[in-house]
Amino acid sequence: MRRPVPTPTSQAFHDAASAGALAFPRCTSCGAWATYSRPWCPRCLHEPLALSPVSGLGTVYAVTVVHRPPSASFADIVPYAFAIVDLDEGPRTVTIITGCDPSIVRPGQRVEASIDPPSGVEAGRAPLVFFRPLT
């Protein structure tokens, strides 16, 4: 799989994940979560958004098991559970549910973040944030 290439705006999000401290952009003025990094709050225009720590615990909102890889870089991981996860604190994120048979993943299932690679910052290459069933 490819890895995210941080932009000036998303660098801080990826740096936090790299350090094992998952945090999502949130407005310090109106409290709205932004799903991904942006320069200012798309609800109240407050600038800048700040990163707000999350526990990494969440619930599967929707899931699909991908059988036909969208590109060659996914050919060796099919079938996989592509999912939307709602974090307990509020933000919603897209991920792959790992660490289990993909066919058993269901909406409502409790999951926890699994950052890959788990630690260490590589220049220009951010980690991926997977989730796995909460045991």
């Binding site: 799989m1 799903t35 699909t64 991908v66 036909r68 996914f74 897209v94």
Partner: protein, 388 residues
């Protein structure tokens, strides 16, 4: 007597559609030209009379100044010229934009033309580096649009108990409508069992439930009301429209079982002064089977969550209570990029002309059209009528 939105009224007056093919040896411009000429002939207009032009970007790459390039190639010198990009909702969005330009006095006849070439003349798709959607979604293996619609199908099954068999019924009913459509790529009857036997691509969606990317082109002309009545065919009047761009990435959609169609269809019908039970035919965007179920629900043709039961064993044919996608839709025509969504506009116009052949809805007076773009995030609903 209610009236459409534009003053003076506007109507679709000319149309043409190429039979989609798996690949084409023609260029983008050649496909656009191949469909623009019959559309002008259908309306009975020479290029010098066509003073408006709307084009769409091609998924296979679009250069700068494309509208002028197309205008020159087609022999037009328009006083209104623009590009529209609403994904699959582009054609529907063109109809009211053309009408608004006419109402503003910018032009009288707007040619709307869309094409996609698949094959040797396709150009690598351009995209911006550093897109949040790529960084936050695509990188996790989202299989194009398919995975996003599969997630919606998953939620619909969980919340409302919608079954694989019910989704398959959409395709079965549309195939029956395509049986005599000479433009359709797929005309053979299908059974629910055959749909379910196809391989799963992104669960629960199976191969046949996913629109096929093809080469093709479509064009139509929107004309001022004063001139429309003097052209070759009965005008298909624009009576109402509603548009909404709600999101781009799938994680930005609050509820995967509720699309912006609930808003756009309601506004279009209110503007037209009609209720959903006064619609004679519905031609709705169908990139996937689940899209049709969600659209029929959100447009008010059945209760929210009742879409599965509504389509189960349904006949979408001309004699049914609600004829849907009477030419088989994109699931049978194939999807020629952004041009694919034009087939719903064109089929509605054919129905209102009473020129839809074997699938003509008797006495068709009012048609509902829905265009759906991206991952449910671009919606444009239209109400077209045989009378103003």
């Amino acid at each position: 007597m209610s009236h459409g939105p534009a003053t003076p009224p506007v109507a679709v007056t000319g149309l043409a559609e190429l039979a989609p093919t798996a690949t084409s040896d023609r260029t983008q411009l050649e496909l656009l030209a191949a469909v623009a000429r019959p559309a002008m002939l259908d309306a009975g207009l020479l290029p010098r009379a066509v003073d408006g032009l709307l084009v769409a970007p091609a998924m296979a790459g679009t250069p700068l100044t494309q509208p002028a390039m197309v205008a020159e190639y087609l022999g037009l010198t328009p006083s209104y010229c623009d590009a529209v990009d609403l994904g699959g909702a582009t054609a529907a969005g063109m109809v009211w934009r053309a009408g608004a330009a006419i109402a503003a006095g910018a032009c009288r006849h707007v040619l709307c033309v869309l094409a996609e070439t698949v094959g040797p003349w396709a150009t690598p798709r351009a995209f911006w580096k550093g897109l949040p959607r790529n960084e936050a979604e695509t990188i996790y293996g989202q299989a194009g649009a398919t995975s996003a619609y599969a997630l919606a199908a998953n939620r619909h099954a969980v919340e409302f108990g919608t079954t694989d068999e019910q989704r398959a019924a959409v395709l079965v009913a549309q195939r029956a409508n395509a049986a005599t459509n000479e433009l359709a790529l797929y005309r053979d009857p299908l059974t629910v069992d055959e749909v379910l036997a196809a391989p799963v691509i992104s669960s629960p969606l199976r191969l046949f439930e996913i629109v096929r990317a093809v080469s093709g082109a479509a064009a139509f002309i929107v004309s001022s009301g004063a001139t429309a009545v003097d052209l070759r065919h009965p005008p298909a009047w624009l009576r109402g429209f509603g548009e909404r761009v709600s999101h781009n990435g799938i994680a930005q959609m609050d509820d995967l079982t509720r699309t912006p169609v609930a808003d756009t269809a309601q506004r279009a019908m209110k503007m037209a002064g009609v209720a959903s039970d006064e619609i004679d035919v519905a031609e709705v965007y169908d990139c996937f089977t689940i899209t049709v179920i969600l659209t029929l629900e959100d447009a008010g043709f059945c209760p929210k969550g009742g879409g599965g039961a509504f389509v189960e064993g349904a006949d979408f044919g001309p004699a049914s209570a609600l004829p849907v996608n009477t030419n088989g839709g994109q699931l049978c025509m194939g999807q020629a990029g952004i041009a694919g969504g034009a087939t719903h506009v064109l089929q509605a116009v054919r129905q209102l002309r009473h020129a839809a052949g074997d699938v003509q809805v008797p006495g068709c007076e009012t048609a509902f059209v829905n265009g759906n773009g991206g991952l449910f995030g671009e919606q444009c609903s239209l109400v077209l009528g045989r009378s103003r």
